[in-house]
C-alpha cells in the first residue's frame, strides 16, 4: 500500500484524514454561519486539504516554522490550532490566538506553534520565510520553513526575490504554490506565462516539482524529500501542488460569473478528501463505525467551538490602541 511504502503507519494515515476532515468541516460550518448572517466573511481551504496535510505532515511539528497563506487551514490545525481557535478568529473575539480579533479570519499567526503572523497583501510571507531560515543559519538551528501561496500570487515580485535569495544562500525553505487554477476570477492562462509554476525552480537553482495536490501521499512524498534536502543543507525546493478551489474565492464572490457549475462538479470528483476517504475504505483501514464516530466527534468539537466562540468576550474598545509599539 502506498502509505506503507512511504513509511506511514495506518494510525498516521488516519491522523492525516482526521485533520483533512476537520479542516473541511470547520470550513463548511463557516459558510453556514456566513449565510446565516453570523459571520461577515469566509475564505476557504476546500479542495486543498490534501495538499496542506501532505505538506505539513512531513514537517517537524516541534521545531519547524510555517508562513502560510489564507487557505492553509489544514496546516495550522495539524500544527496545533483547534476548531475553537478558528471560531474565535471567525467571530473576531478577544481570545482569537491569531490576532485578538483584529484580522480577518484565516490570517493565521500563532507563536505557540511557530506560525508567523500573516497579512493580506499576497506573497510578502515568502520573504519572511527566507528570513526565518536565514536566522537559523546565524543561530545554528536546523529548523525548516514552509511558506505557501496561490498560483496567481506567484507572479508578485516578492515571490521572485524570495526564491532567488533562498537559492543563493541554500536556505532550508520550502516554497509551496497551491495551484487551484484561479486567482479570484482570472484563470491560469491569464496568470502564468509558462502555464506552470514548477519550471521556475531551475531558474533559481532549485528543484521545481509539480505534484497532484489531491493526492495526499504524493504531496507527502515530495515534501518529505524536500524537507530532508533542506535539513541537510542542500537548499530550498519549489513545490507546485495542483488541485481546484471548490468554493467561490470568498463569501463575497460569485464564482458562476466566471466558471460553470459543471466544471466545479467535475472537480469535486477528484477532491483529495474524497480520494483519501475512498483509499481508507478500499484498504479497509477503518470500520464503518470508526468512520461514523470520527465524523460525529468532529461535528461535536466544532459545534462546541462555535458555542464557545459565540459567547466569548469581545475585545475591549480600549484595546484599539494597544500593541502599536512595544
Amino acid at each position: 500500500m502506498k502509505h506503507q511504502e512511504l513509511g506511514l503507519t495506518n494510525e498516521q494515515v488516519l491522523e492525516m484524514y482526521r485533520y483533512m476532515l476537520l479542516a473541511r468541516k470547520v470550513d463548511e460550518k463557516m459558510w453556514l454561519l456566513n449565510r446565516a448572517g453570523k459571520l461577515p466573511f469566509v475564505v476557504s481551504c476546500q479542495g486543498q486539504e490534501a495538499t496542506q496535510i501532505g505538506i505539513a505532515y512531513a514537517l517537524d511539528r516541534q521545531k519547524d516554522w510555517l508562513c502560510p497563506y489564507y487557505r492553509d487551514l489544514g496546516m495550522v490545525l495539524l500544527f496545533g490550532q483547534t476548531a475553537k481557535d478558528q471560531m474565535l478568529s471567525a467571530f473576531a473575539k478577544k481570545d482569537d490566538p491569531n490576532s485578538g480579533g483584529r484580522q480577518m479570519p484565516n490570517h493565521f499567526g500563532d507563536h505557540r506553534y511557530r506560525i508567523l503572523s500573516g497579512s493580506s497583501p499576497v506573497t510578502t510571507q515568502f520573504l519572511h520565510a527566507v528570513g526565518i531560515a536565514y536566522a537559523g543559519k546565524i543561530t545554528g538551528e536546523d529548523h525548516v520553513v514552509l511558506t505557501s501561496c496561490g498560483e496567481g500570487s506567484s507572479n508578485q515580485g516578492d515571490w521572485h526575490e524570495a526564491l532567488n535569495f533562498a537559492g543563493v544562500h541554500k536556505l532550508p525553505v520550502i516554497f509551496l504554490v497551491e495551484n487551484n487554477l484561479y486567482a479570484i476570477s482570472v484563470p491560469l492562462e491569464k496568470q502564468l506565462a509558462g502555464g506552470n509554476v514548477a519550471e521556475r525552480g531551475q531558474g533559481y537553482g532549485m528543484p521545481g516539482i509539480r505534484v497532484d495536490g489531491n493526492d495526499v501521499f504524493g504531496v507527502y512524498e515530495v515534501m518529505k524529500e524536500a524537507v530532508e534536502r533542506a535539513r541537510s543543507g542542500e537548499g530550498p525546493t519549489l513545490i507546485e501542488a495542483v488541485s481546484y478551489r471548490l468554493t467561490p474565492h470568498s463569501s463575497d464572490d460569485d464564482d458562476l460569473a466566471y466558471r460553470t457549475r459543471e466544471e466545479v462538479e467535475e472537480a469535486k470528483k477528484r477532491d483529495g478528501l474524497f480520494v483519501l476517504e475512498k483509499y481508507l475504505d478500499d484498504h479497509q483501514l477503518w470500520t464503518l463505525d470508526e468512520k461514523e464516530f470520527l465524523n460525529k466527534e468532529l461535528d461535536v468539537e466544532i459545534t462546541e467551538a462555535i458555542k464557545f466562540a459565540e459567547s466569548a468576550a469581545h475585545p475591549d474598545p480600549t484595546d484599539l490602541s494597544k500593541h502599536v509599539y512595544a
Binding site: S185, Q191, H314, V324
Partner: protein, 327 residues
C-alpha cells in the same frame, strides 16, 4: 436627471470616455469577465473587448508599470488597484516613475494615466481592506490626487482625470459605493481637478474634509443646526493640487476650523491643510485649528466593536464642532 450610485458614476465615466477616446483602456485584477470585485467595470468588457478591459496577473507593480509605458507611448490607461491597501507594491512605479516622468525628461515624455483605488473603512475590511492611503502620496510632486464624495463629483472628476495629462490617483471611498445616490447628468461633463466645493454654507465653524467624512459632517451639521450652531462644510474633492484659495476663504468665513478625515491623524493630509492655514490665514483665526481624525493605530481591526471605536461618525464630529464653537 437620472439618480445613480457612486459606483455607477464611476462605471459611467469610464464607459463614456472609452466610447469617445480609443486610447483609453482599463487594466487590473478581475476587471474583465468579473467586472471588478466591486463591479466598477461591470459590462465594459462586453462593450470594448478584452484588450481594452484587461485582466492582468496579480501584480500591482506591473499594473502601474505597464500603464506607465503605455501612457508614455500615448495611450490613456486606467489602472484599477483592487483595494487601496494593495497599492504598496506599486509605490516605486508611482513615485519613482509616474510622478517623475515629465520632470526627468524635461517635458518630452508624459504619463497621462489614472490609478483608481477603493479606500476607506467601516465595511468589516479589517487591517488590510480598510486603509486610507492618500496621505502617502500627497507629498510627491508630479502626482494629482482626487478623492470625491458624491456621484456627481465622481463622474465629473473621473472624466477630468482621464483627460488630464498627468498621473492622477483617484481614490474612491468603498463605503460610499452603494451608500450614496445622486442626480447625475447622463451626458459627459467635467468637474475641474483642484477645485474644492462648499457643500454647506455656515457661519460658526468651518469643517474642511473629504470622502465619506463629508457625509458624516453634513449629518453632524444638520443636528447642530437645531442647537443653533451653523456649520460651513468645505469638501476638498482634490487633495493635490490643494485648492488653497477655497481653504483660506472657508477659514475666513468663520475663524474656526476643524479638519476631519478618516485617515489617522499624524501626518494625515489634515496636517498640510492646517499648516497652510497657520501660515497663510493666521490672522483670520479665532481659535486653534482642530484636527479630528482616526487614532494613530495601524488601520482598523476586524472586530466590529474595535472598528466602531476606530471610525469617526456624525456624533464624534458633532462633539468636536460643538467644542470648537464654544471656544
Amino acid at each position: 436627471m437620472p439618480v445613480i450610485s457612486y459606483i455607477d458614476a464611476i462605471t459611467e465615466a469610464m464607459r463614456d470616455e472609452m466610447e469617445r477616446d480609443k486610447s483609453v483602456f482599463i487594466l487590473g485584477e478581475d476587471v474583465g469577465v468579473r467586472g471588478g470585485v466591486f463591479r466598477a467595470t461591470n459590462g465594459l468588457i462586453d462593450l470594448y473587448g478584452e484588450d481594452r478591459v484587461l485582466d492582468t496577473p496579480l501584480t500591482e507593480s506591473a499594473i502601474v508599470g505597464v500603464g506607465i509605458g503605455a501612457a508614455a507611448y500615448g495611450l490613456r490607461p486606467i489602472a484599477e488597484i483592487q483595494f487601496a491597501d494593495f497599492i504598496m507594491p506599486a509605490v516605486n512605479q508611482i513615485i519613482s516613475e509616474a510622478a517623475k516622468m515629465r520632470y526627468r525628461s524635461n517635458g518630452t515624455f508624459q504619463c497621462p494615466m489614472v490609478i483608481r483605488a477603493p479606500y476607506g473603512g467601516g465595511i468589516h475590511g479589517a487591517l488590510y481592506h480598510s486603509q486610507s492611503v492618500e496621505a502617502l502620496f500627497t507629498g510627491v510632486p508630479g502626482l494629482k490626487i482626487v478623492a470625491p464624495s458624491t456621484p456627481y463629483d465622481v463622474k465629473g472628476l473621473l472624466l477630468s482625470s482621464i483627460r488630464d495629462n498627468d498621473p492622477v490617483l483617484f481614490f474612491e471611498h468603498k463605503k460610499l459605493y452603494r451608500l450614496i445616490k445622486d442626480e447625475v447628468p447622463s451626458e459627459s461633463y467635467t468637474v475641474p481637478i483642484g477645485k474644492a466645493d462648499v457643500k454647506r454654507e455656515g457661519s460658526d465653524v468651518t469643517v474642511i474634509t473629504y470622502g465619506l467624512m463629508v457625509h458624516y459632517t453634513l449629518e453632524a451639521a444638520k443636528k447642530l443646526e437645531e442647537e443653533g450652531i451653523d456649520v460651513h462644510v468645505l469638501d476638498l474633492r482634490t487633495l493635490i493640487p490643494l485648492d488653497k484659495e477655497a481653504v483660506l476663504e472657508a477659514t475666513k468665513r468663520t475663524g474656526k476650523v476643524l479638519i476631519v478625515h478618516e485617515d489617522n491623524k499624524t501626518s494625515g493630509f489634515g496636517a498640510e491643510v492646517a499648516a497652510v492655514i497657520a501660515e497663510e490665514a493666521f490672522f483670520d483665526l479665532d481659535a486653534p485649528i482642530g484636527r479630528l481624525c482616526s487614532p494613530d493605530v495601524p488601520s482598523m481591526p476586524y472586530n466590529s466593536k474595535l472598528e466602531k471605536a476606530f471610525m469617526l461618525n456624525p456624533e464624534k464630529i458633532a462633539t468636536a464642532i460643538r467644542e470648537l464653537a464654544e471656544l
